[in-house]
Structure formats: structure tokens, C-alpha cells
């Protein structure tokens, strides 16, 4: 977008992100070098040696190709450049086959350097950097051992005895390097979690195999007396070519996702959706770390995740590291990442600072989300408290007053029945009993209106059926099994149906009503349709309070009511 405001689209950082030009340059340089090499080594050779030489050069192309691919995928990672460096070792080694003396000498020096390069690749994976003194010492030793016979030949030319010593030293030193390398790799694998292990094992396995199999196969063919055979050389070259192939395989398996450029990161600034900030995804892509997490810092210092939930402080150390994102001196969030995938904490910090303002905006959204959730919870608690109060009142009336009225009426009737009382007293007591019964009847209705007892168990279905049974107009009822509905949902559904039925009779003057109540998975759906005058509004006729109630338990209430075309009320509430 040409209209991007300045500053939003950050300039690519040349030290991390290779431009297309640079990639093309390296690639064409590789092709040029390959061509030159073939021109130098092929003349004078004969089949099948010619084919082997071409394969050798092809191995160089494979290395440099893999290196360029890795460099593009993860600009901030050192693996790509390392592979390209390894390709040069392959290239130099192949020069040993040249008929030009100087080139052949160079080739002899570099003949086995590719093994040292592979050791370095393995120990530096996945970040591209060596960690720990042991790793550095081992890699230095590997290179030293690799060039030893070649350098020795330069120092003491034409001394077969000295050469034998150099070769023996190389074999023993090489073995020692490999043993220590295998130990270091095994330690890394053991310390890794399952995800990381899946990333490491194929490459480690194949790398060790390659470094051991190539010399071992040479020794084997020595014993068999088939030294210098074309078959052996081809097998060895294919095994070596497999190393960068294994690396590319890991990249394509997704363990090594392409790190996005700054552009992608900037585009992500545009949207912050509820519950999911594309910022995190963009950061994860940029750093090539799918385990990356964005943790916000609340106004009160609490750790908040992307959905607005308060979480425990993120663990730091070993496989997790934390880099704060600052805006105007305040920490607004932290980037939690895997330090094995991104070794350079400063790089993470720089990436974070570029989008710090956007992260701060996301933090505000997330905090809003959190306060909204708290508000919802508090509404639900209010409804719950009101329900419990209703239940208490209903129970008190039921167990207290209603029972007392039975006993009072009983007493009045006993007096009326007593033989010793006069006619007048008997009659008055009887009237008293009838009046108490009438009061009890009123109270019964009142209790039922406050809260029908009970709505749990098979209560909701029963209670709605009871409402429908008492309707003065034809009312059809369809219900699925409504057992195990939570009390809050059941109470809400009951009041909604009760109100809708009352409205259908009192206001809509309907001559027919249809009620459906169904539980579909974890949603309770209620629909009440009447054939009345229509024109009802959610805000009016007692529905307003119910909307609040329904929303407080996380549901929705909609009323469709066209004048002259009846009213349809639909409610959905979660009841999981």
C-alpha cells in the first residue's frame, strides 16, 4: 500500500532479512561457481569418473540451495548462512579433483572440512549459534582435525610416514569429536520437550549417520580392496547431499516456519479481534516460534492473557524467556518465547518495540474484555442472588404461612364442628374456615408467581406444562427432555415462557399460542408464537426485565412482532 504512513512500515533490517537481490546474487554466484568448477575439474577425466565429479558439484548446489532456502525462511536465524558456508567447504573439497596443482592442493586441505561443517550445523541447530564453551571447542577441534592431513601434506610434502601419522591422528581426533558431539546432541534431545524433540531428532539422527557413515564406508571399502571405487564415491556423495535435504525436510515439516518480514508484522497492526490478537500470530511468524505467547500487563500489574483472563506469571528459564514491551517507560506486555529458537533477546526486544503501540492498544482491548467479563459475572451473580432470594421467600411462604393457614382453617372448622358450640358460632367458624381457605388459595397463586417449586429435576418441563395447562386459549406445547437444566437457566426460561404466555392473552388478544422448548446440545431454546395483534417491543410489557435477565445468564432474547401478524419470541440460553 503506497499510502502507508511513514514509520508504520519499517525498513527491512539488512543484517537479518536478505533482500531478494541478495538471495538472487548468492544463488547466481552458486550457479556460476558450479559452472566454473565443472570447467576446471572435468577436462581430462573419463567415464565413470566424470559422472562422479558432476555429482560432487551437484552436492555443492544442494548445500547452497538449502542454505538460501533456510536464509529466506528465517532471516534472523544463522542456519542459512551456515549451510551456505558448508557449501563452500564442499566446493573446496571438490577442487581436489582439479588437474591444476594449486587448486588440487586447496582441495586436499578442504577434503574433509564438510564433516566439521556438519558438526557445526548440528550443534548450532536450530538457532545457528553455538551455545556453551564445549560446543565451540568441539567445533574448533573438528575443523582442526579436518584440515590436518591436507595442511600436513603442505608442511611436509613427500613424507609418507608423517602423512600416515596425520591420517591416524585425524581418524582418532575425528572419532573423539564425534563422540563428544553425539553426547552434546543426546543431552539436548533429552532436555527437549516433545515438540522440540520432533524437530531435532530427524536432523540429529541423519547428521550423525552421515558423519560416521562416510569415513566408515571408506574404511570398509579399504578392507575390501575396492579403494577409490566409483560406487563408494557416489554413495558417500549422496549421503553428504542428504544432510541439507534433511534440514530442508525439517523446514517444510513446519517445525521451522518462515519468519515474516516486517511488512507482515505491520499489516497485523490494523486489526485486533476479540479474544485473539493477530499480533501474537505475526510475532510468532516473525520470530519463527509457534510457542510464542503475548502476555499483557494490567493496570494493576496483573498478568493477562489474550482472552482477558488473569493468569499466573509466565515461567522463565530453560525453555521459556520473557522480554518486556515498553511504551513511554511502562511495561504494557511481555513476549514469552523459546530462547532456543531465538537466541538473540535483543532481536525479540526490537521486534516488540516496533509494534509496541499496537500491543498497547491490544492490551486496552484485552482489559476491556476482562472488565466486560467481570461485569457479566457480576450481573449473573445478581440474578443468582435474586433467584436465591425468591426461592427463600417461596420456601418460607410455603413451609411457614401456607402450613399455618392449613392449621388455622383446621382449627376454625374444628370449632364449627364442635357439638357444644352454638349455632351462630358454628356458622361463623365455618365462614372463617372458608375465608382462610380463600386466603390460602391466593397465597398459593402468589407463591407460584414468585417462583414455582421446584424447577430442578424434571421441574422445568413440569412447570412449563403446568403454565400451558392453565392457558385460557388453545396452546400447543412441544418439548424435548428438559432434565438436568441448571437452576439459573431453568428459572430464566420459566419466567420468559410465563411472561410470553401472559402477554399473548392479556395484550396480544391471541386466539392460539405455540410454545416450543428444546435443549440442543448445551443450548436451551425457547420459542413462543402467538396469533395476536403483534406490535410488541422487547422493551415493553414486562419483557424489558427479562432481557436483562436472559443476558445476565449469557443468553439472547429476540422478539419479532409485526402489527397484525402475531408475535414470536425466541430465547436462547447456554445450559451446559
Amino acid at each position: 500500500m503506497s499510502s502507508s504512513p511513514p514509520g508504520i512500515r519499517a525498513q527491512p533490517n539488512p543484517s537479518h532479512a536478505p533482500g531478494a537481490f541478495l538471495v538472487a546474487l548468492v544463488a547466481s554466484l552458486g550457479i556460476l561457481l558450479a559452472g566454473m568448477q565443472l570447467a576446471v575439474i572435468l577436462p581430462g577425466s573419463q567415464q565413470p569418473v566424470t559422472a562422479v565429479l558432476i555429482v560432487y558439484t551437484a552436492v555443492f548446489v544442494v548445500y547452497i540451495g538449502a542454505g538460501v532456502l533456510a536464509w529466506m525462511r528465517r532471516p534472523s536465524n544463522g542456519m542459512g548462512p551456515l549451510l551456505i558456508a558448508a557449501s563452500l567447504a564442499v566446493y573446496a573439497g571438490n577442487l581436489g579433483n582439479a588437474s591444476v596443482v594449486v587448486l588440487a592442493l586447496v582441495g586436499d586441505v578442504f577434503a574433509t572440512v564438510v564433516f566439521a561443517a556438519i558438526v557445526q550445523l548440528l550443534l548450532a541447530f536450530p538457532s545457528g549459534r553455538l551455545r556453551g564453551t564445549v560446543s565451540r571447542v568441539v567445533v574448533s577441534a573438528a575443523y582442526a582435525v579436518a584440515v590436518l592431513p591436507g595442511v600436513g601434506a603442505l608442511i611436509a610434502p613427500g613424507d609418507p610416514q608423517a602423512q600416515d601419522v596425520f591420517v591416524l591422528t585425524q581418524r582418532l581426533g575425528g572419532l573423539a569429536v564425534m563422540v563428544v558431539t553425539a553426547g552434546l546432541l543426546a543431552r539436548t534431545v533429552l532436555a527437549a520437550d516433545a515438540v522440540f524433540r520432533r524437530l531435532l531428532l530427524p536432523l540429529y539422527g541423519y547428521g550423525i549417520f552421515a558423519v560416521l557413515a562416510v569415513p566408515a564406508s571408506a574404511a570398509l571399502f579399504d578392507v575390501l580392496g575396492a579403494q577409490g571405487s566409483v560406487a563408494l564415491a557416489t554413495i558417500q556423495l549422496i549421503i553428504l547431499a542428504g544432510v541439507p535435504v534433511a534440514f530442508v525436510a525439517v523446514i517444510l515439516r513446519g517445525g521451522f516456519p518462515r519468519s515474516g518480514g516486517w511488512e507482515e508484522l505491520s499489516e497485523a497492526l490494523a486489526v485486533v479481534r476479540e479474544g485473539k490478537t493477530p499480533l501474537r500470530d505475526a510475532l510468532a511468524r516473525t520470530l519463527g516460534d509457534e510457542t510464542l505467547r503475548l502476555v499483557f500487563t494490567g493496570e494493576d500489574g496483573a498478568w493477562i492473557d489474550e482472552r482477558g483472563e488473569i493468569i499466573d506469571p509466565p515461567p522463565v528459564g530453560g525453555q521459556r524467556a520473557l522480554i518486556p514491551v515498553m511504551v513511554e517507560g511502562r511495561t504494557v506486555a511481555s513476549i514469552e518465547y523459546d530462547p532456543r529458537l531465538t537466541v538473540d533477546g535483543d532481536y525479540v526486544r526490537r521486534v516488540g518495540q516496533v509494534i509496541a503501540v499496537a500491543i498497547d492498544r491490544a492490551r486496552l482491548s484485552v482489559e476491556l474484555l476482562r472488565s466486560r467479563r467481570e461485569l457479566m459475572a457480576s450481573r449473573a451473580r445478581l440474578v443468582d442472588a435474586a433467584d436465591r432470594e425468591r426461592l427463600r421467600i417461596a420456601q418460607d411462604l410455603h413451609d411457614g404461612l401456607q402450613m399455618q393457614l392449613v392449621l388455622l382453617a383446621l382449627e376454625a372448622q374444628q370449632i364449627a364442628n364442635a357439638a357444644e358450640e352454638g349455632e351462630a358460632t358454628s356458622a361463623r367458624s365455618r365462614v372463617l374456615r372458608v375465608n382462610i381457605d380463600a386466603a390460602a388459595s391466593d397465597l398459593r397463586r402468589l407463591v407460584h408467581d414468585v417462583l414455582p417449586l421446584p424447577l430442578v429435576g424434571r421441574g422445568l418441563g413440569n412447570a412449563i406444562e403446568d403454565l400451558v395447562d392453565r392457558m385460557p386459549i388453545p396452546t400447543a406445547l412441544e418439548m424435548t427432555s428438559l432434565e438436568e437444566i441448571p437452576t439459573a437457566a431453568a428459572t430464566t426460561a420459566y419466567f420468559v415462557v410465563a411472561e410470553a404466555l401472559t402477554n399473548a392473552v392479556k395484550h396480544a388478544h391471541a386466539d392460539r399460542v405455540t410454545v416450543t422448548v428444546a435443549r440442543v446440545d448445551d443450548v436451551l431454546r425457547v420459542s413462543v408464537t402467538d396469533t395476536g395483534v403483534g406490535g410488541a417491543h422487547v422493551e415493553g410489557r414486562g419483557l424489558g426485565g427479562l432481557v436483562d435477565r436472559v443476558e445476565a445468564v449469557g443468553g439472547s432474547l429476540t422478539v419479532t412482532s409485526v402489527v397484525g401478524a402475531g408475535t414470536n419470541l425466541r430465547m436462547e440460553i447456554p445450559c451446559g
Binding site: 410455603h398 413451609d399 401456607q402 402450613m403 393457614l405 392449613v406 392449621l407 382453617a409 383446621l410 376454625a412 372448622q413 374444628q414 364442628n417 374456615r433 382462610i436 381457605d437 390460602a440 388459595s441 398459593r444 407463591v447 407460584h448 414455582p452 417449586l453 421446584p454 430442578v456 429435576g457 424434571r458 421441574g459 413440569n462 406444562e465 403446568d466 395447562d469 392453565r470 392457558m471 385460557p472 386459549i473 388453545p474 396452546t475
Partner: protein, 215 residues
């Protein structure tokens, strides 16, 4: 006549026991839970059980569940279920399937002691006692849904209600001040209007009316 009472409110339990004793019933056990009720029925083999619907522990329909279990295990025991609130479903479940000897009444009916004990004795003799409130629900509902009841005269509707309550012709006659013969004429007109078969047995009459009202 041996009676077992199940009612969780102690005052009402005592009041009920007192009233029954005064009227010549023998209250052999008065308990507060459905489980105790079933035990008491097993122990005392009463002729009549009076139980509240809503009792501990869940305060939903324990009494009703116990009533059905007692009906299944001891079919000769008459059962009257009391409730603060009557509804159609429970009425049908209690009365609609059984062979009589069953009642479903509002608790408040206890107060009119004579009518109440008459109802109890009728149930023990094999009859039915359905609360006027629930009968009214049935009648209004049948009337709303159409199918014959709406064509009855007010008097016929009243008589149909008494029939549904399980009343005998002689009781209906004294209640509305007619001769028993006039009541019989009324009932046969009602049968004709609704297309019911005439039945002399009070409970079978209730069943027929209930089936008609709830079809």
C-alpha cells in the same frame, strides 16, 4: 382403619394425626420422609397412606415416587397424595393408570375435615379423590381445546366435574340439591354429549372422564 402419614412439617403432621384420630382412624405411624414412609408401610401394612409430595431430601416429588412404589409393591394400600400445588401431569400419573384407591388433593383440603375424611374413606373403599382445582384445570383445558365439553350446559359441566373428582351420584345429588334420579339423567346426557359408555363403577367412571378430558 390403620393409617400411615408422611409429612415433613411436624406441626401439620401432628394436626393431621389428631384430626384423623378424632374421626376414628388409627394412625399407626407418622413420619417425615419418603424413605421412612416406605419402611412404615412394610412394617404396619396400613389400609391407607397419606403422603406429602414434597419432602426431604430434594423437596421435589419424593412423596409421589414413594406412592408409585407402594402402589407397585402393595396394591391393596389406598394412597392419598397431598400437595401445596396441584397439576394435571401428577393427577394423570396417579389416577389415570391405577385401579382406584387413590387420591390427589390440595393440602388445604384437610381443613374441611368432614369432606376430607369422607374422601379418605371413599378412596379406601376403592374410589378416587381428585382435587377440584385439578379437575377445573382439566375441564378448562378440554373446553379450550374443543371436543364436546364446551357444548355442555353449566349444570352439566358442574356434574361432569364432580364425576371427575370421583363423587358418587348420591353425593352429587345432595351437593347440587337434585334428586339422585335427576343426577342420573344428567350424567346420561353428559355421556351422550361426550360419546362415553355408561359405567356404574365410580372409579371406572373417573377413568373414562379423565381419558376423555386428557385425550
Amino acid at each position: 382403619m390403620r393409617v400411615v402419614i408422611a409429612e415433613d412439617e411436624a406441626l401439620l403432621r401432628q394436626g393431621l394425626a389428631l384430626v384423623l384420630e378424632q374421626d376414628g382412624f388409627e394412625v399407626v405411624s407418622a413420619v417425615g420422609t419418603a424413605a421412612e414412609l416406605e419402611d412404615a408401610v412394610g412394617e404396619h401394612q396400613p389400609q391407607l397412606v397419606i403422603t406429602d409430595i414434597r419432602m426431604p431430601p430434594t423437596f421435589t416429588d419424593e412423596g409421589l415416587v414413594a406412592a408409585h412404589r407402594i402402589r407397585a409393591s402393595s396394591p391393596d394400600v389406598a394412597i392419598v397424595v397431598l400437595s401445596q400445588h396441584v397439576q394435571r401431569r401428577y393427577a394423570i400419573e396417579l389416577v389415570g393408570t391405577g385401579q382406584g384407591k387413590v387420591g390427589y388433593l390440595l393440602k388445604q383440603r384437610i381443613a374441611d375435615v368432614r369432606t376430607f375424611t369422607q374422601d379418605l374413606r371413599r378412596v379406601v373403599r376403592g374410589g378416587t379423590a381428585l382435587d377440584p382445582d385439578v379437575v377445573e384445570i382439566l375441564l378448562s383445558r378440554a373446553q379450550v381445546l374443543g371436543g364436546g365439553v364446551e357444548r355442555l350446559t353449566p349444570r352439566q359441566r358442574e356434574v361432569l366435574g364432580y364425576m371427575a373428582e370421583g363423587r358418587s351420584n348420591s353425593w352429587i345429588a345432595s351437593a347440587i340439591g337434585f334428586s339422585e334420579k335427576a343426577v342420573v339423567q344428567h350424567t346420561s346426557k353428559i355421556y351422550d354429549a361426550l360419546g362415553l359408555a355408561v359405567d356404574a363403577d365410580d372409579h371406572r367412571r373417573v377413568l373414562a372422564v379423565l381419558r376423555y378430558l386428557t385425550r
